[in-house]
Protein backbone atom coordinates (compact mmCIF):
# COMPACT_ATOMS: atom_id res chain seq x y z
CA UNK A 1 0.00 0.00 0.00
CA UNK A 2 1.59 3.24 -1.14
CA UNK A 3 1.08 6.35 0.99
CA UNK A 4 1.44 9.98 0.03
CA UNK A 5 2.19 12.70 2.55
CA UNK A 6 -0.64 15.23 2.95
CA UNK A 7 0.05 17.31 6.03
CA UNK A 8 1.83 17.48 9.34
CA UNK A 9 -0.74 17.52 12.12
CA UNK A 10 1.68 18.04 15.02
CA UNK A 11 5.37 18.76 15.42
CA UNK A 12 7.44 17.63 18.39
CA UNK A 13 6.64 20.71 20.46
CA UNK A 14 2.89 20.47 19.87
CA UNK A 15 2.95 16.78 20.67
CA UNK A 16 4.78 17.51 23.94
CA UNK A 17 2.30 20.23 24.90
CA UNK A 18 -0.67 17.98 24.19
CA UNK A 19 0.74 15.25 26.45
CA UNK A 20 1.48 17.83 29.17
CA UNK A 21 -2.12 19.04 29.08
CA UNK A 22 -3.46 15.46 29.20
CA UNK A 23 -1.20 14.70 32.17
CA UNK A 24 -2.67 17.69 34.05
CA UNK A 25 -6.23 16.64 33.18
CA UNK A 26 -5.61 13.10 34.38
CA UNK A 27 -4.34 14.24 37.79
CA UNK A 28 -7.11 16.78 38.10
CA UNK A 29 -9.76 14.09 37.67
CA UNK A 30 -7.96 11.43 39.66
CA UNK A 31 -7.07 13.92 42.42
CA UNK A 32 -3.51 12.62 42.71
CA UNK A 33 -1.63 9.43 41.87
CA UNK A 34 -3.04 7.12 44.56
CA UNK A 35 -4.82 4.24 42.91
CA UNK A 36 -3.95 5.59 39.46
CA UNK A 37 -2.37 3.49 36.72
CA UNK A 38 -1.58 4.24 33.08
CA UNK A 39 -1.75 1.28 30.72
CA UNK A 40 -0.41 1.68 27.18
CA UNK A 41 -1.79 -0.37 24.29
CA UNK A 42 0.95 -1.90 22.11
CA UNK A 43 2.70 -0.43 20.11
CA UNK A 44 2.61 3.36 20.48
CA UNK A 45 0.31 3.52 23.45
CA UNK A 46 3.18 2.12 25.51
CA UNK A 47 5.60 5.09 25.23
CA UNK A 48 2.62 7.46 25.54
CA UNK A 49 1.67 5.88 28.90
CA UNK A 50 5.29 6.08 30.08
CA UNK A 51 5.59 9.74 29.09
CA UNK A 52 2.34 10.61 30.82
CA UNK A 53 3.59 8.80 33.94
CA UNK A 54 6.87 10.77 33.74
CA UNK A 55 4.98 14.06 33.41
CA UNK A 56 2.65 13.24 36.30
CA UNK A 57 5.64 12.33 38.45
CA UNK A 58 7.24 15.65 37.53
CA UNK A 59 4.13 17.64 38.55
CA UNK A 60 3.08 15.62 41.60
CA UNK A 61 6.37 14.26 42.93
CA UNK A 62 4.97 10.73 42.82
CA UNK A 63 4.71 8.36 39.89
CA UNK A 64 1.53 6.50 39.00
CA UNK A 65 1.80 2.81 38.17
CA UNK A 66 2.18 1.92 34.51
CA UNK A 67 1.85 -1.14 32.31
CA UNK A 68 1.64 -2.49 28.76
CA UNK A 69 -1.34 -4.20 27.20
CA UNK A 70 -1.44 -6.38 24.09
CA UNK A 71 -4.97 -6.72 22.75
CA UNK A 72 -4.31 -9.22 19.94
CA UNK A 73 -6.03 -12.18 21.62
CA UNK A 74 -9.12 -9.97 22.10
CA UNK A 75 -9.51 -8.71 18.54
CA UNK A 76 -12.91 -9.28 16.95
CA UNK A 77 -11.56 -10.15 13.52
CA UNK A 78 -9.25 -13.12 14.20
CA UNK A 79 -11.47 -15.56 12.29
CA UNK A 80 -11.46 -13.29 9.23
CA UNK A 81 -8.04 -11.77 8.76
CA UNK A 82 -5.49 -13.02 6.25
CA UNK A 83 -2.51 -11.66 8.16
CA UNK A 84 -1.51 -13.12 11.45
CA UNK A 85 -0.73 -10.45 14.01
CA UNK A 86 2.22 -11.07 16.28
CA UNK A 87 1.10 -11.57 19.86
CA UNK A 88 3.11 -9.61 22.39
CA UNK A 89 3.43 -9.77 26.13
CA UNK A 90 1.08 -7.95 28.41
CA UNK A 91 2.94 -6.46 31.35
CA UNK A 92 0.61 -5.15 33.99
CA UNK A 93 2.67 -5.80 37.13
CA UNK A 94 0.03 -4.72 39.63
CA UNK A 95 -3.45 -5.72 40.71
CA UNK A 96 -5.96 -3.77 38.59
CA UNK A 97 -8.82 -4.32 41.03
CA UNK A 98 -10.24 -1.09 42.50
CA UNK A 99 -7.75 1.00 40.48
CA UNK A 100 -8.40 3.95 38.19
CA UNK A 101 -6.91 2.75 34.92
CA UNK A 102 -6.18 5.16 32.08
CA UNK A 103 -5.79 3.24 28.81
CA UNK A 104 -3.42 5.07 26.48
CA UNK A 105 -3.19 4.81 22.69
CA UNK A 106 -1.91 6.94 19.86
CA UNK A 107 -4.98 7.12 17.61
CA UNK A 108 -8.68 6.57 18.30
CA UNK A 109 -10.48 5.57 15.10
CA UNK A 110 -13.14 2.85 14.90
CA UNK A 111 -13.00 2.14 18.62
CA UNK A 112 -12.41 -1.58 18.08
CA UNK A 113 -8.95 -1.55 19.66
CA UNK A 114 -10.36 0.22 22.73
CA UNK A 115 -13.19 -2.33 22.92
CA UNK A 116 -10.64 -5.18 22.83
CA UNK A 117 -8.53 -3.40 25.47
CA UNK A 118 -11.53 -3.07 27.79
CA UNK A 119 -12.16 -6.83 27.58
CA UNK A 120 -8.48 -7.66 28.06
CA UNK A 121 -8.28 -5.41 31.10
CA UNK A 122 -11.46 -6.67 32.73
CA UNK A 123 -10.18 -10.26 32.39
CA UNK A 124 -7.34 -9.26 34.75
CA UNK A 125 -9.71 -8.05 37.44
CA UNK A 126 -12.33 -5.40 38.03
CA UNK A 127 -10.94 -1.86 38.03
CA UNK A 128 -12.94 0.89 39.75
CA UNK A 129 -12.79 3.13 36.67
CA UNK A 130 -11.37 2.77 33.16
CA UNK A 131 -10.66 5.90 31.14
CA UNK A 132 -9.18 6.39 27.69
CA UNK A 133 -6.44 8.84 26.67
CA UNK A 134 -5.44 9.27 23.01
CA UNK A 135 -3.11 11.59 21.22
CA UNK A 136 -5.36 11.87 18.14
CA UNK A 137 -9.10 11.29 17.74
CA UNK A 138 -9.74 10.97 14.02
CA UNK A 139 -13.46 10.09 14.13
CA UNK A 140 -15.29 7.30 12.24
CA UNK A 141 -16.32 5.36 15.34
CA UNK A 142 -17.92 1.96 14.75
CA UNK A 143 -18.68 1.34 18.42
CA UNK A 144 -20.13 3.47 21.24
CA UNK A 145 -16.73 4.47 22.60
CA UNK A 146 -15.29 7.90 23.36
CA UNK A 147 -12.01 9.17 24.78
CA UNK A 148 -11.76 10.94 28.15
CA UNK A 149 -8.56 12.78 27.20
CA UNK A 150 -7.72 13.85 23.62
CA UNK A 151 -4.54 15.53 22.39
CA UNK A 152 -6.13 16.73 19.17
CA UNK A 153 -9.36 16.08 17.28
CA UNK A 154 -8.66 15.67 13.57
CA UNK A 155 -11.49 15.26 11.06
CA UNK A 156 -10.30 12.74 8.47
CA UNK A 157 -11.59 10.74 5.56
CA UNK A 158 -11.37 6.94 5.63
CA UNK A 159 -8.85 7.00 2.81
CA UNK A 160 -6.47 8.92 5.03
CA UNK A 161 -4.04 7.46 7.56
CA UNK A 162 -2.93 9.20 10.72
CA UNK A 163 0.68 8.33 11.43
CA UNK A 164 1.96 9.05 14.93
CA UNK A 165 5.73 8.99 15.24
CA UNK A 166 7.38 8.81 18.64
CA UNK A 167 11.07 9.02 19.35
CA UNK A 168 10.98 5.72 21.30
CA UNK A 169 9.58 3.77 18.33
CA UNK A 170 10.27 5.94 15.28
CA UNK A 171 13.24 8.15 16.13
CA UNK A 172 11.26 11.41 16.16
CA UNK A 173 8.10 13.02 17.51
CA UNK A 174 5.51 14.07 14.90
CA UNK A 175 2.00 13.35 13.71
CA UNK A 176 1.45 13.10 9.96
CA UNK A 177 -1.59 12.82 7.77
CA UNK A 178 -1.06 10.42 4.87
CA UNK A 179 -3.32 9.28 2.09
CA UNK A 180 -3.50 5.95 0.31
CA UNK A 181 -2.48 6.54 -3.27
CA UNK A 182 -5.18 5.74 -5.80
CA UNK A 183 -4.92 2.36 -7.53
Amino acid sequence: MHMTHKAQLMDAQELGRALTRIAHEIIERAKGVDGLALVGIHTRGVPIAERLADLIEHFEGARPLSGKLDITLYRDDLTEIALQPVVRKTEVPFDVRRMTIVLCDDVLYTGRTARAALDALVDMGRPAVIQLAVLIDRGHRELPIRADYVGKNVPTSRAEVVKVKLSETDGEDAVLLLEQAAG
Binding site: Y74, I81, V86, R112
Partner: protein, 324 residues
Amino acid sequence: MIPGSTPLAETAAKTSRRRHLLDFEGWSRDDVLALLDTTDVMAQVMQRTIKKVPALQGFTIGTLFFEDSTRTRLSFERAARAQSADVISFAAGGSSLSKGESLKDTLRTIDALQADLYVVRHQAAGAPHQIARWTDALVVNAGDGRRAHPTQALLDAYTFRARFEGFDGFAGKRLAIVGDVMHSRVARSNVALWTLLGAEVVLCGPRTLLPAELGQARGVTLTHRVDEALEGAHAVMALRLQHERMTRGLLPSLAEYRQRYQVTRKRMRAAHAGALVMHPGPINRDIELEGALADAPYSVIEAQVANGVPVRMAILYTLLVGSR
Protein backbone atom coordinates in the same frame (compact mmCIF):
# COMPACT_ATOMS: atom_id res chain seq x y z
CA MET B 1 -6.73 -6.01 10.85
CA ILE B 2 -8.62 -3.60 12.98
CA PRO B 3 -9.10 -0.40 10.99
CA GLY B 4 -7.26 2.38 12.72
CA SER B 5 -4.83 0.16 14.56
CA THR B 6 -1.17 0.15 13.71
CA PRO B 7 -0.63 0.41 9.93
CA LEU B 8 -0.16 -2.88 8.13
CA ALA B 9 3.53 -2.61 7.47
CA GLU B 10 4.34 -2.20 11.13
CA THR B 11 2.41 -4.96 12.85
CA ALA B 12 5.20 -7.38 11.93
CA ALA B 13 2.32 -9.54 10.87
CA LYS B 14 3.20 -12.39 8.60
CA THR B 15 1.12 -13.61 5.73
CA SER B 16 0.06 -17.00 6.84
CA ARG B 17 -0.31 -19.71 4.35
CA ARG B 18 -2.30 -22.80 5.08
CA ARG B 19 0.04 -25.02 7.01
CA HIS B 20 -0.04 -28.09 9.16
CA LEU B 21 2.22 -29.20 11.98
CA LEU B 22 3.00 -32.78 10.94
CA ASP B 23 6.72 -32.61 11.68
CA PHE B 24 9.23 -29.77 11.26
CA GLU B 25 9.45 -30.14 7.49
CA GLY B 26 8.86 -26.66 6.06
CA TRP B 27 9.30 -24.92 9.43
CA SER B 28 12.14 -22.45 9.71
CA ARG B 29 14.10 -21.52 12.81
CA ASP B 30 12.30 -18.15 12.86
CA ASP B 31 8.89 -19.84 12.63
CA VAL B 32 9.74 -21.91 15.68
CA LEU B 33 11.18 -19.00 17.65
CA ALA B 34 8.04 -16.94 16.91
CA LEU B 35 5.97 -19.85 18.17
CA LEU B 36 8.00 -20.00 21.38
CA ASP B 37 7.47 -16.24 21.84
CA THR B 38 3.73 -16.71 21.40
CA THR B 39 3.94 -19.49 23.99
CA ASP B 40 5.31 -16.96 26.51
CA VAL B 41 2.13 -14.91 26.06
CA MET B 42 -0.08 -17.99 26.38
CA ALA B 43 1.77 -19.00 29.55
CA GLN B 44 0.89 -15.57 30.93
CA VAL B 45 -2.77 -16.18 30.18
CA MET B 46 -2.62 -19.48 32.06
CA GLN B 47 -1.23 -17.72 35.12
CA ARG B 48 -4.16 -15.32 35.37
CA THR B 49 -7.26 -15.85 37.49
CA ILE B 50 -9.33 -15.93 34.31
CA LYS B 51 -7.51 -18.48 32.16
CA LYS B 52 -9.38 -17.75 29.00
CA VAL B 53 -9.15 -15.44 25.99
CA PRO B 54 -11.59 -15.11 23.07
CA ALA B 55 -8.91 -15.49 20.36
CA LEU B 56 -10.22 -18.68 18.71
CA GLN B 57 -13.92 -18.04 19.16
CA GLY B 58 -15.65 -19.36 16.06
CA PHE B 59 -13.05 -22.02 15.31
CA THR B 60 -13.75 -25.72 15.86
CA ILE B 61 -11.01 -28.17 16.78
CA GLY B 62 -11.40 -31.92 16.50
CA THR B 63 -9.20 -34.24 18.53
CA LEU B 64 -8.88 -37.54 16.70
CA PHE B 65 -7.14 -40.08 18.90
CA PHE B 66 -6.83 -43.40 17.12
CA GLU B 67 -4.27 -44.36 19.76
CA ASP B 68 -5.20 -43.64 23.33
CA SER B 69 -3.46 -40.81 25.16
CA THR B 70 -5.59 -39.11 27.74
CA ARG B 71 -2.89 -36.67 28.84
CA THR B 72 -2.09 -35.36 25.39
CA ARG B 73 -5.74 -35.14 24.42
CA LEU B 74 -6.64 -33.25 27.61
CA SER B 75 -3.74 -30.88 27.08
CA PHE B 76 -4.94 -30.04 23.55
CA GLU B 77 -8.54 -29.67 24.65
CA ARG B 78 -7.54 -27.34 27.46
CA ALA B 79 -5.47 -25.34 24.97
CA ALA B 80 -8.43 -25.07 22.61
CA ARG B 81 -10.98 -24.13 25.27
CA ALA B 82 -8.67 -21.60 26.93
CA GLN B 83 -8.89 -19.72 23.62
CA SER B 84 -12.66 -20.16 23.35
CA ALA B 85 -12.56 -22.64 20.46
CA ASP B 86 -15.17 -25.39 20.26
CA VAL B 87 -13.91 -28.94 20.65
CA ILE B 88 -15.14 -32.17 19.08
CA SER B 89 -13.57 -35.33 20.50
CA PHE B 90 -13.17 -38.59 18.68
CA ALA B 91 -11.60 -41.68 20.24
CA ALA B 92 -11.13 -44.83 18.20
CA GLY B 93 -12.22 -47.18 20.96
CA GLY B 94 -15.95 -47.88 20.61
CA SER B 95 -16.15 -46.16 17.23
CA SER B 96 -17.01 -47.68 13.89
CA LEU B 97 -13.29 -47.90 13.20
CA SER B 98 -13.12 -50.91 15.49
CA LYS B 99 -15.96 -52.41 13.43
CA GLY B 100 -13.79 -52.38 10.34
CA GLU B 101 -14.53 -48.97 8.87
CA SER B 102 -11.54 -47.59 6.97
CA LEU B 103 -9.64 -44.51 8.12
CA LYS B 104 -10.85 -42.65 5.06
CA ASP B 105 -14.51 -43.43 5.68
CA THR B 106 -14.15 -42.49 9.33
CA LEU B 107 -12.58 -39.20 8.39
CA ARG B 108 -15.31 -38.49 5.85
CA THR B 109 -17.91 -38.86 8.59
CA ILE B 110 -15.97 -36.70 11.02
CA ASP B 111 -15.32 -34.10 8.32
CA ALA B 112 -19.07 -33.55 8.06
CA LEU B 113 -18.82 -31.94 11.50
CA GLN B 114 -16.77 -29.17 9.89
CA ALA B 115 -13.78 -28.75 12.14
CA ASP B 116 -11.14 -26.17 11.18
CA LEU B 117 -8.28 -28.18 12.62
CA TYR B 118 -7.68 -31.78 13.63
CA VAL B 119 -5.30 -32.96 16.30
CA VAL B 120 -4.36 -36.49 15.25
CA ARG B 121 -2.73 -39.26 17.27
CA HIS B 122 -2.27 -42.55 15.41
CA GLN B 123 -0.25 -45.72 15.92
CA ALA B 124 0.71 -45.77 12.25
CA ALA B 125 3.52 -43.52 11.04
CA GLY B 126 2.27 -41.12 8.37
CA ALA B 127 -1.44 -41.31 9.28
CA PRO B 128 -1.68 -37.56 10.06
CA HIS B 129 -0.08 -36.80 6.67
CA GLN B 130 -2.63 -39.01 4.98
CA ILE B 131 -5.47 -37.27 6.82
CA ALA B 132 -4.05 -33.87 5.82
CA ARG B 133 -4.36 -34.95 2.17
CA TRP B 134 -7.99 -36.00 2.61
CA THR B 135 -9.36 -32.99 4.45
CA ASP B 136 -9.50 -29.24 3.97
CA ALA B 137 -8.91 -28.77 7.69
CA LEU B 138 -5.49 -28.12 9.22
CA VAL B 139 -3.76 -31.02 10.93
CA VAL B 140 -1.56 -31.14 14.01
CA ASN B 141 0.32 -34.35 14.58
CA ALA B 142 -0.03 -35.44 18.20
CA GLY B 143 2.16 -38.49 17.65
CA ASP B 144 2.30 -41.01 14.81
CA GLY B 145 3.97 -44.35 15.35
CA ARG B 146 7.69 -43.94 15.94
CA ARG B 147 7.83 -41.11 13.45
CA ALA B 148 7.12 -37.78 15.06
CA HIS B 149 5.62 -35.99 18.04
CA PRO B 150 6.35 -32.37 17.22
CA THR B 151 4.28 -30.75 19.99
CA GLN B 152 6.22 -32.68 22.63
CA ALA B 153 9.51 -31.51 21.11
CA LEU B 154 8.24 -27.92 21.10
CA LEU B 155 7.30 -28.07 24.75
CA ASP B 156 10.69 -29.60 25.55
CA ALA B 157 12.51 -26.81 23.72
CA TYR B 158 10.24 -24.20 25.29
CA THR B 159 10.84 -25.60 28.77
CA PHE B 160 14.58 -25.55 28.19
CA ARG B 161 14.49 -21.96 26.94
CA ALA B 162 12.37 -20.85 29.89
CA ARG B 163 14.30 -22.69 32.58
CA PHE B 164 17.97 -22.87 31.58
CA GLU B 165 19.76 -20.28 33.71
CA GLY B 166 21.14 -17.47 31.54
CA PHE B 167 19.70 -18.94 28.32
CA ASP B 168 21.32 -17.16 25.36
CA GLY B 169 20.05 -19.10 22.37
CA PHE B 170 20.07 -22.70 21.18
CA ALA B 171 23.29 -22.41 19.18
CA GLY B 172 26.10 -24.27 20.90
CA LYS B 173 23.73 -26.03 23.31
CA ARG B 174 23.90 -29.76 23.65
CA LEU B 175 20.93 -32.05 24.26
CA ALA B 176 21.58 -35.64 25.33
CA ILE B 177 18.78 -38.15 24.81
CA VAL B 178 19.29 -41.43 26.63
CA GLY B 179 17.34 -44.66 26.33
CA ASP B 180 15.15 -46.44 23.83
CA VAL B 181 15.78 -44.09 20.94
CA MET B 182 14.67 -46.58 18.33
CA HIS B 183 11.03 -46.71 19.40
CA SER B 184 10.81 -43.03 20.31
CA ARG B 185 8.97 -40.45 18.23
CA VAL B 186 9.84 -37.96 20.97
CA ALA B 187 13.55 -38.54 20.28
CA ARG B 188 13.08 -38.16 16.52
CA SER B 189 11.12 -34.93 16.82
CA ASN B 190 13.59 -33.50 19.32
CA VAL B 191 16.47 -34.32 16.97
CA ALA B 192 14.68 -32.50 14.15
CA LEU B 193 13.76 -29.49 16.28
CA TRP B 194 16.96 -28.92 18.26
CA THR B 195 19.17 -29.26 15.19
CA LEU B 196 16.86 -26.85 13.35
CA LEU B 197 17.41 -24.41 16.24
CA GLY B 198 21.18 -24.81 15.96
CA ALA B 199 21.81 -27.10 18.93
CA GLU B 200 23.70 -30.38 18.95
CA VAL B 201 22.01 -33.64 19.89
CA VAL B 202 23.72 -36.71 21.31
CA LEU B 203 21.71 -39.91 21.20
CA CYS B 204 22.65 -42.66 23.60
CA GLY B 205 21.37 -46.18 24.17
CA PRO B 206 22.15 -49.83 23.80
CA ARG B 207 23.19 -50.95 20.31
CA THR B 208 19.84 -52.68 19.78
CA LEU B 209 17.88 -49.50 20.54
CA LEU B 210 20.01 -46.94 18.71
CA PRO B 211 19.43 -46.90 14.95
CA ALA B 212 22.59 -45.89 13.10
CA GLU B 213 20.75 -43.85 10.46
CA LEU B 214 19.80 -41.23 13.05
CA GLY B 215 23.49 -40.36 13.36
CA GLN B 216 23.67 -39.22 9.77
CA ALA B 217 21.88 -35.92 10.31
CA ARG B 218 23.98 -32.81 10.82
CA GLY B 219 24.56 -31.94 14.47
CA VAL B 220 23.72 -35.44 15.69
CA THR B 221 26.12 -37.93 17.24
CA LEU B 222 25.51 -41.42 18.59
CA THR B 223 27.15 -43.15 21.50
CA HIS B 224 26.62 -46.29 23.55
CA ARG B 225 28.29 -44.80 26.59
CA VAL B 226 26.14 -42.66 28.84
CA ASP B 227 29.09 -40.81 30.41
CA GLU B 228 30.17 -39.70 26.97
CA ALA B 229 26.63 -38.56 26.12
CA LEU B 230 26.25 -36.48 29.28
CA GLU B 231 29.67 -34.83 28.99
CA GLY B 232 29.00 -31.09 28.61
CA ALA B 233 25.27 -31.56 27.96
CA HIS B 234 22.99 -28.60 28.75
CA ALA B 235 19.89 -30.77 28.83
CA VAL B 236 19.56 -34.49 29.48
CA MET B 237 16.43 -36.26 28.42
CA ALA B 238 15.78 -39.79 29.65
CA LEU B 239 13.33 -41.82 27.59
CA ARG B 240 10.80 -44.21 29.04
CA LEU B 241 11.93 -47.80 28.85
CA GLN B 242 9.06 -50.00 27.85
CA HIS B 243 9.08 -53.40 29.48
CA GLU B 244 8.05 -55.27 26.36
CA ARG B 245 11.44 -54.44 24.85
CA MET B 246 12.96 -56.91 27.25
CA THR B 247 10.69 -59.76 26.27
CA ARG B 248 11.57 -59.19 22.63
CA GLY B 249 15.23 -59.73 23.39
CA LEU B 250 16.33 -56.18 22.65
CA LEU B 251 17.76 -55.82 26.13
CA PRO B 252 19.69 -58.31 28.22
CA SER B 253 18.22 -57.45 31.62
CA LEU B 254 16.72 -54.58 33.53
CA ALA B 255 19.58 -54.64 36.01
CA GLU B 256 22.14 -54.28 33.25
CA TYR B 257 20.18 -51.49 31.58
CA ARG B 258 20.03 -49.61 34.86
CA GLN B 259 23.68 -50.04 35.50
CA ARG B 260 24.73 -48.90 32.05
CA TYR B 261 22.12 -46.32 31.04
CA GLN B 262 20.26 -44.96 34.03
CA VAL B 263 20.56 -41.17 34.31
CA THR B 264 21.77 -40.59 37.86
CA ARG B 265 22.86 -37.68 40.02
CA LYS B 266 26.38 -39.01 39.89
CA ARG B 267 26.43 -39.18 36.11
CA MET B 268 24.90 -35.70 35.86
CA ARG B 269 28.13 -34.29 37.32
CA ALA B 270 29.71 -34.65 33.88
CA ALA B 271 27.03 -32.41 32.37
CA HIS B 272 27.35 -28.64 31.85
CA ALA B 273 26.79 -26.41 34.88
CA GLY B 274 23.06 -25.80 35.29
CA ALA B 275 22.11 -28.71 33.03
CA LEU B 276 18.42 -29.62 33.15
CA VAL B 277 16.92 -33.09 33.43
CA MET B 278 13.92 -33.78 31.23
CA HIS B 279 11.59 -36.70 30.64
CA PRO B 280 8.58 -36.92 28.31
CA GLY B 281 6.68 -39.01 30.89
CA PRO B 282 5.36 -41.22 32.25
CA ILE B 283 8.49 -42.04 34.26
CA ASN B 284 9.66 -45.46 35.39
CA ARG B 285 11.42 -44.27 38.51
CA ASP B 286 14.73 -46.01 39.19
CA ILE B 287 14.82 -47.56 35.73
CA GLU B 288 15.70 -44.94 33.12
CA LEU B 289 16.00 -42.22 35.75
CA GLU B 290 17.32 -42.37 39.30
CA GLY B 291 14.21 -41.77 41.41
CA ALA B 292 15.64 -38.90 43.44
CA LEU B 293 16.72 -37.13 40.25
CA ALA B 294 13.13 -36.59 39.15
CA ASP B 295 12.65 -34.34 42.18
CA ALA B 296 16.02 -32.55 42.00
CA PRO B 297 15.92 -28.75 41.59
CA TYR B 298 17.35 -29.03 38.08
CA SER B 299 14.65 -31.49 37.03
CA VAL B 300 12.07 -29.71 34.87
CA ILE B 301 9.80 -32.69 34.32
CA GLU B 302 6.83 -31.02 36.02
CA ALA B 303 7.41 -27.84 34.04
CA GLN B 304 7.32 -29.90 30.83
CA VAL B 305 3.84 -31.11 31.74
CA ALA B 306 2.67 -27.62 32.72
CA ASN B 307 4.08 -26.09 29.53
CA GLY B 308 2.12 -28.52 27.39
CA VAL B 309 -0.97 -26.31 27.46
CA PRO B 310 0.59 -22.93 26.55
CA VAL B 311 2.72 -24.53 23.80
CA ARG B 312 -0.38 -26.14 22.31
CA MET B 313 -2.30 -22.86 22.65
CA ALA B 314 0.44 -21.17 20.63
CA ILE B 315 0.34 -23.93 18.00
CA LEU B 316 -3.43 -23.69 17.58
CA TYR B 317 -3.27 -19.89 17.42
CA THR B 318 -0.41 -19.89 14.93
CA LEU B 319 -2.02 -22.40 12.61
CA LEU B 320 -5.59 -21.10 12.76
CA VAL B 321 -5.40 -17.31 12.79
CA GLY B 322 -5.04 -16.09 9.23
CA SER B 323 -5.90 -19.50 7.74
CA ARG B 324 -9.37 -18.68 6.42
